[in-house]
């Protein structure tokens, strides 16, 4: 390619990229900064999150509470410093009215101050660290997912009611792994035969699988997000251990099932939502989402879809007034919308008070893999930190 030609192409594509941006800048209405990781190994989760929110907007005809919505795409690259820079730009240059999204807690921790201190409302659709649930709660933060520990404790409660006496725990050796163990143990009263911590970049689990076989537990509890979980599930099944119940959190879900497939069948997960939930809002969401994106939505997508519906209901309540933040916060807090989870309300700390389920991996009639609710484990559960929140 000649020099001129290459430059021409570059200039042309830069122009093309800039154009929708110009159109957005001139549109009146409500502007959302959507934070979703789109680079690196975790990009699949960001895709779920983003597609879920956009599906919500689509169902609302591109409007939130009657105001035309425009979305500023923010790829946090799973790097806190990048997230802060990009979010600041969105706040100062693009003047976004809300910041929505965020898959990972460390990103939320990085952006919460710049966003909330500017008076902008932040809606986290996945990350739910305990730091902002208790004494550190924030009037401008709303969480549509859960408090992280809650999910792990659901599995502890499920193991307890299933009557398991001996459980083997396997988690990655970092903060979230240790939190998972603490959460699980908070409701499991039986014996933990062994706790094994593996490095975050572990490839081969055969050493751990041999240990599990030797310990002969009633069940294992594990938290292995992303590729770790894919490796573990495949190798666990191949080693013939699948007769030991596989209790997990964030290990078998719609983001990893396309790679785990049959290996994950019958494995358990703790969840506030599953695609098969029987309510009108959810059925519409799942059906249209699958038609549009050709994959089964995961909880990341569902919680983001809920966020779109939540903001729509709140803006409607204030009559499209985005300036009166007190009224806006009260309207969001009311959570007057149909969640895909069925009943949904906010606690005093702006984290959800909701039901949690034991879910199981199934192969649906159409050949796709999904999680399905088995039974309700906790009803109207408030996270353990809410009492410390003074708001």
């Amino acid at each position: 390619m000649t020099k001129f030609g290459r430059r021409g192409v570059l200039a042309g594509s830069a122009g093309a990229l800039a154009m929708p941006w110009v159109a957005n800048a001139q549109a009146p209405g409500v502007k959302i900064g959507l934070v979703a990781v789109q680079t690196g190994p975790a990009a699949a989760l960001g895709t779920h999150l983003k597609d879920g929110f956009m599906q919500g907007l689509k169902h609302l005809d591109g409007k939130l509470g009657g105001l035309t919505a425009s979305v500023v795409d923010i790829d946090d690259e799973l790097r806190p410093e990048v997230a802060v820079t990009k979010v600041r730009t969105a706040l100062e240059r693009d003047k976004v009215d809300f910041v929505v999204g965020v898959v990972f807690s460390n990103i939320l921790q990085a952006i919460i101050r710049p966003v909330t201190e500017s008076g902008t409302i932040l809606v986290s659709t996945n990350a739910g660290p305990s730091t902002f649930a208790g004494a550190g709660c924030n009037p401008n933060l709303f969480v549509t997912s859960y408090s992280n520990d809650q999910v792990h404790s659901v599995m502890g409660a499920a193991a307890e009611t299933n009557g398991y006496k001996k459980v083997f725990i396997l988690v990655p050796n970092y903060q979230a792994g240790k939190d998972a163990v603490a959460g699980f143990k908070s409701r499991f009263k039986g014996e933990v035969v062994d706790e094994v911590y593996v490095p975050l970049n572990q490839l081969d689990f055969s050493a751990e699988l041999a240990k599990i076989a030797a310990a002969k537990p009633d069940a294992i509890f594990t938290f292995m997000p992303g590729g770790l979980g894919v490796n573990l599930v495949k190798q666990y099944r191949a080693a013939g251990l699948a007769h030991i119940p596989f209790l997990s959190t964030f290990t078998v879900d719609e983001s990893t099932l396309p790679a785990q497939q049959d290996a994950a069948l019958g494995f358990f997960s703790a969840c506030p939502w599953a695609p098969n939930m029987d309510n009108a809002a959810n059925q519409k969401f799942v059906k249209d989402f699958e038609a549009a994106h050709n994959y089964v939505p995961g909880s990341y997508a569902a919680q983001s879809y809920d966020a779109a519906m939540l903001l729509d209901s709140a803006i409607k309540k204030t009559g499209g007034n985005l300036a009166n933040k007190d009224a806006l916060r009260a309207a969001i807090k009311a959570a007057d919308f149909h969640s895909v989870r069925g009943p949904f309300k906010f606690g005093t700390n702006h984290y959800p008070v909701q039901d949690f389920w034991l879910c199981k991996v199934v192969k649906r009639a159409d050949g796709k893999y999904a999680t399905e609710t088995v039974r309700k484990v906790l009803e109207n559960d408030t996270d353990p930190y809410a009492a410390q929140c003074k708001m």
Binding site: A207, A210, K234
Partner: protein, 307 residues
């Protein structure tokens, strides 16, 4: 821990070592013969896994996918050599590191654009689906045994080619003193291309073989690359024999360390801190071993004497 469990863990360690050898063999050839640091070796492994997974999905056969993926990764390697790498042979290592790191970023992104960011799956071939019972409640999948065999066969074949053929003599000569080989009238560029192509194909082969037991995702090459570098540094850069021994060593240290360290720590610490310090120490063990071996033999276990 029982003797039986210890034996099983050693087997697991050897098998992981063989998998590492498959990745490291190509890397050590390219680094040794061409004095070229190819950080992109990991993405070539990833490319092999992706091509294998999608070819298996398209053809419905693991074996056909394996056979087709090998020339495909060879071609991809040659294309990369032609596009990027051949312009870097004369440059210093920093330029090579920077450029090949750029290749990692671009190929990771390309893979994401073509295949999406969700992990893919590659089925185990029906022929190797069974398993051998190792102890009550634990099976050893036949497929893992196949990886072991494939790795040993690759090692044997490479040894034969490198030690017993004229081409191998040239490769060894190139590793020792490339300018001299060129001065003797050998087309060193063609030799480099050949070595590079073989290296890429070996990485691709490792990727296809690993795909049924590991997650096929856009970051998969990065994790394995670090261990592969540890292997070739311990083994002596450029030495296939060294890479083989070192890979087994790293596999054993890594696996046995992970399974024994927490128990060892329990002798001196309470159970809960013992687990965590044990896990932390186990993940450092490979690097500690590397530092130790380098202090003892700075050029690795089997140094290829270069000028």
């Amino acid at each position: 821990m029982s003797t039986q469990l210890l034996l099983i863990q050693s087997l697991n360690g050897l098998q992981f070592g063989v998998l590492l050898f498959l990745v490291a063999a190509g890397l050590t050839l390219v680094f040794g013969v061409m004095d070229f640091i190819n950080l992109a070796h990991g993405v070539q492994y990833m490319l092999g896994a992706y091509l294998g997974a999608s070819l298996a999905a398209a053809t419905g056969s693991f074996w056909l996918a394996l056979v087709l993926a090998l020339p495909a990764t060879l071609l991809a390697g040659l294309a990369l050599e032609w596009l990027v790498f051949r312009h870097l042979y004369g440059r210093d290592h920093l330029a090579q590191v920077l450029a090949t790191f750029g290749v990692i970023l671009s190929l990771n992104q390309l893979v994401r654009m073509v295949w999406g960011s969700a992990p893919l799956q590659m089925p185990t071939p029906a022929l190797l689906e069974g398993s051998i019972p190792l102890m009550p409640g634990l099976n050893y999948p036949l497929y893992r045994a196949a990886i072991l065999v494939a790795g040993l066969a690759t090692a044997g074949l490479l040894w034969l080619v490198v030690e017993r053929t004229r081409l191998g003599a040239l490769v060894r000569a190139g590793a020792t003193n490339a300018p001299m080989v060129a001065a003797l009238g050998v087309d060193i560029h063609r030799l480099f291309m050949l070595v590079f192509g073989c290296g890429a194909m070996l990485a691709g082969f490792a990727g296809v073989m690993a795909a049924p037991i590991l997650s096929v995702d856009p970051g998969m090459g990065d994790t394995v690359l670090i261990l592969a570098f540890v292997v070739i540094v311990i083994g002596g850069i450029g030495s296939v024999r060294g890479a083989f021994i070192a890979a087994l060593l790293v596999g054993l240290i890594e696996t046995l360390g992970r399974s024994l360290m927490p128990d060892v720590m329990r002798l001196v610490l309470a159970p809960s801190p013992a687990r965590q310090t044990g896990a932390a120490l186990a993940s450092m063990l490979v690097y500690v071993a590397m530092a130790g071996i380098l202090a003892w033999r700075p050029r690795g276990l089997f140094p290829v004497r270069a000028g």
